[in-house]
Amino acid sequence: MGTLRDTLSRHGQSGGATLLLYPMLVALASGIPALAQVPPPPPPVTVAAVPLTTAQRAQQTMVSLNFRVPRGYHINSNTPKSEFLIPTALKMDLPTDIILGKIEYPAGEEMTFPFSPDEKLSVYAGDFTVSVGVHPLHSVVPGKYVMRGVLRYQACDDAACYPPRTLPVSFEVKVVKEPATHHANPAQSPHVHN
């Protein structure tokens, strides 16, 4: 601005009158009729922190993942009512020798929307929980392991839908040995220890 003022004063311009040009030019530059505003994309679905879970070897342990759909939006359930709708699905990639067990999805909430007044859709809105079974094999060395995966979902609000997204999820599992099996007590040698 200083440079501009200097230049103007060198030209003997009255600064006040000339500076009126600026808002006019700016208005001219931005005065092109704007089209409808693009709505901001929906905030992403979030997942809560998962407490450390202890999983015994050779046994399936269920881990609960708590998700939250932002207010005003919904996502399809795992079993939407149309073949064309994109189901919410969790895909896990577990460490070697930790087997993925069952993934349990909640039933969808049956809702109608302004865009589908005659048809109920099966959706998740608000909070929902997906449970994942992890099954460490005997061969797994006891210790902490990180399980990683992604939740794929597709969100809509009352008037528009947004392209599918993926939400990375991860949680830790502490693998412990299975309890020692109880063997029949063999006869002890009758040593006497002094």
Binding site: T7, P39, A160, Y162, P168
Partner: protein, 237 residues
């Protein structure tokens, strides 16, 4: 307890990048104090400085617009004065359709997807509008922004009784039209090839019909204007 709450993809909105001013050929003498009235010829330093200032302002606002979270990465930004960006896409019947071939007609360009519930509501309206206004020069064109197979898209369109061409969309075409961050999204294009309106999300049929009439009320451009290049400016990165 390390769970990494994930986030979706962020994107950036496009902005307009104005044409830079011509290099100044001003000689040092013209910058010296001059009691004469200001020189307002195109090469005047005053004009150049004002233009540079405006360009700087536009770049500033464009930059901040581009940094706004939630906008998509490279899409162009369109205004009502924009010539609709041209494209060629394959239709469900395997033919290639070019948007500019429809010049002289009013076009409703509808971006949709099979997974989009609100899009499904609009489609019967489009069928009715095509029937009602087709003879007046309306051409509705659907662009499926879908990962579904061509067969699935075709099945969906058939189930919906679609009576207008459906094209298999590409991300690059979506980017030409501002990224199409939400569906449905429709552009009303006048007979002169210029965008006259844009409808995002599900609206009433009456609103769509009004926009169709607006597009139908335009006049074909002269051959010179038709040959003009789209007034789309690449988004700043």
């Amino acid at each position: 307890m390390e769970t990494s709450p994930g986030t979706g993809q962020n994107s950036q909105d496009a902005g307009e990048s104005p044409r830079p001013p011509e290099p100044s050929r001003t000689s040092p003498e013209t910058l010296s104090p001059d009691p004469k009235p200001p020189n307002l010829s195109p090469r005047s330093p005053l004009v150049l400085v004002v233009v540079a200032f405006v360009v700087a302002l536009m770049l500033y606002f464009g930059y901040h617009q581009a940094r706004r979270p939630g906008a998509s990465a490279a899409p162009a930004r369109l205004t009502q004065l924009s010539l609709a960006p041209d494209f060629s896409l394959e239709s469900l019947d395997g033919k290639t359709m070019r948007l500019s071939d429809l010049r002289g007609k009013a076009v409703l360009l509808n971006f949709w997807a099979t997974w989009c519930g609100p899009c499904k509501i609009e489609m019967p309206w489009f069928v009715e509008l095509q029937t009602q206004y087709g003879s007046q020069g309306l051409q509705i064109v659907g662009v499926a922004m879908d990962d579904a197979s061509k067969e699935d898209i075709g099945k969906f369109a058939k189930d919906m009784g679609v009576n207008y061409p459906i094209l298999i969309g590409k991300e690059s075409v979506g980017d030409q039209y501002g990224g199409v961050p939400a569906l449905p999204e429709s552009f009303l294009i006048g007979r002169d090839g210029k965008i006259v309106d844009k409808i995002i999300g599900l609206r009433g049929k009456a609103e769509i019909e009004d926009a169709v009439k607006k597009a139908l009320n335009t006049h074909p451009a002269s051959s010179q204007a038709s040959a003009a290049r789209p007034e789309i400016v690449p988004a700043p990165r």
